[in-house]
């Protein structure tokens, strides 16, 4: 069963679509990077998955259950970090943890106190008196200590310093390995996530362009380079994502199904960051125009 599945999911705000026709299947025990520019619909997608925004179209499922139903079963499986990091500012950190403990049967208090101690966040100070970064850490701790099967983290690294980012990535990897957690992290900067993710969802202009295993995404994109003066015709069977001309060189990022053997192009394997930027720059071809890849062969785990 997919940890998170969207089918034709869409959200309209007035006449504008915040997210349109979004479909993907995220298998369990993955760390998915949800990347896209600001306003691409990342938060909308996560909020719909957490059951606090109602889809205008389509359906979203968490381990087969609709988060829109707001049942205890589905709520227990979701750990949601809102973009605004809401916390009770009049509470002491201790009381915030007590709140989590009382409302969550799987609460891991020792782990929560461990995280905060490692970050030097005093548990006897008021949440409202903490710095923005510390508040973000407390909010993250609330999500992690709940021990959900699916973590939905909206811009989790945004307010964190580089050391704290490193620490968070380590914690997330640990929880995937130890607790079989599935993680969705959103960011507008792919470099934050490239080191730990193994699944990529690229959103731009309210559309999903790519939603697949990292390995497949890397394998199915190639950067073709040739001299600008005598650029040869593109090899057959490739789909152009983005083209950049400079005076001397033409770089074309393409999506491929077969290896490119055309000797007139220099073929390079692009980095994830290059792929993401290519999609974001050109608004890219829509995923379905390429023929969506089946998910059958990817290693899924029923939970």
């Amino acid at each position: 069963m997919a940890a998170l599945e969207a089918v034709g999911l869409g959200k309209r705000y007035g006449r504008r679509w915040g997210l349109e026709d979004c479909s993907f299947r995220l298998p369990a025990r993955r760390i998915a990077a949800l990347v896209g520019p600001n306003g691409a619909g990342k938060s909308t997608l996560l909020r719909m998955a957490a059951g606090i925004t109602r889809p205008t179209a389509g359906d979203v499922r968490v381990f087969g259950r609709s988060p829109q139903d707001q049942t205890v079963e589905v709520l227990r499986q979701i750990g949601y970090l809102d973009q605004e990091r809401p916390l009770y500012h009049s509470f002491h950190v201790d009381e915030m943890l007590r709140f989590g403990e009382r409302l969550n049967p799987n609460w891991n208090d020792a782990a929560a106190r461990g995280y905060l101690a490692a970050l030097d966040i005093p548990t006897d100070s008021k949440v409202g008196k903490l710095s923005v970064g510390q508040q973000a850490q407390v909010a993250l701790t609330m999500c992690l200590a709940k021990r959900p099967a699916l973590l939905l983290l909206d811009e989790p690294v945004a307010a964190l310093d580089p050391v704290a980012r490193e620490g968070l990535m380590h914690i997330l990897l640990r929880s995937v390995v130890d607790d079989d957690t599935t993680v969705v992290l959103s960011s507008h900067a792919v470099s934050d996530l490239a080191t730990i993710c193994d699944y990529v969802i690229i959103l731009s202009a309210s559309r999903v362009h790519v939603a697949d295993d990292l390995d497949y995404v890397l394998a199915s994109h190639r950067l073709l380079m040739a001299s600008s003066e005598q650029a040869p015709p593109l090899p057959p069977g490739v789909l152009v994502v983005s083209t950049r001309h400079s005076e001397r060189q033409t770089n074309v990022l393409v999506r491929v199904e077969e290896p490119v053997t055309d000797p007139s192009w220099r073929v390079v394997e692009p980095t994830l960051e290059e792929i993401v930027i290519a999609y974001l720059r050109e608004k890219g071809p829509r995923a379905e125009t390429f023929g969506q890849r089946r998910d059958g062969d990817s290693s899924e785990d029923a939970r």
């Binding site: 909020r47 957490a50 059951g51 606090i52 925004t53 109602r54 707001q70 049942t71 205890v72 709520l75 227990r76 979701i78 750990g79 949601y80 809102d82 605004e84 809401p86 916390l87 009770y88 500012h89 009049s90 509470f91 009381e95 007590r98 709140f99 989590g100 009382r102 409302l103 969550n104 049967p105 799987n106 909010a139 609330m142 709940k146």
Partner: protein
Amino acid sequence: MIWATWRMHRSIFIASIAAAIALAVWLAITGGMEEHAWTIFTSHHCSLNYPGSSAICMSSLSGADSFSTVNAALCGALPALLGLVLGVPLVAGEIQQRTNRLAWTQSITRTRWLLTKIGVGALFTAAIVGALAPLFWWWTDAAQRSSHIQPANFDISGFVGVAYALFAFMLGVALGALIRRAGWAFAACVPIFALVRIGIRLYIRPGLIPPTTVSVSANTPVGNSDWYLNAGFVPLGRSTPAPGQAWSSYNLVVENCQGAGYGTQKAAHSAIYCEKANHLHYVMQFQPPSHFWALQGAESALFLFLAGVLLGLTVLAVRRWRT
């Protein structure tokens, strides 16, 4: 969740207790002064009709009356204000600070979250207003206000204040959940609460339990302890005017029959003669003091019913709430 509710709204809860204690102290002091003034008034055999007969009667009466209006307003306003102040931020405050997104993604359903918060808030509201009720009662007696069935006293006597407070509380919770902004919700609640309270007092309470009707001669004085509702000529065999007729509808009939100088000894015909000639009798309709507890129960039930309707609305609104 019970602890969390208390912790979340602790400052408002504590401020409410402080306000209730302040009011209690104020009532005890001013009520004591009024009681003392009445004692002097009575011991000097003063009369309400001739308070000017001596300086001591004048001064004791003004002392006895000095806090009547203020205290009645305070006692009347407190349950409503307390209910609104506790109710409005219960849901609206969380939505405004986005903490609802935190609370509604824990392992507890929204309905349970809401019902726990409402339960704690409602119990607290009822407890404070209930604790003040005996003091209010003592004060209305100490200030020698008229009978408890009279509207000015009824509202602040007995247990009906608890029902008002719970209705105000649920109105605050419901409008807070629907409007999602505490300030606007509060502004909307005040006139709605006032309209409902005044509307029920004017149009529903008089007939909430069947009033007592007596057939009397036209110049019978109204009893001081009864809550007088209506009086007038009505057709024989009826205790109220015929459908479509007002209480004053038959006055003209009797006046015309009596001729010039009606209502006095000089009239051509006596009132009794004209009543009989027109098949009318004169009735007075009132709620006697013996109806006090039944009327308190009926009006409380009505307000609790309205609070229940608001509770249902709030549950629906919160369950359906999405960004």
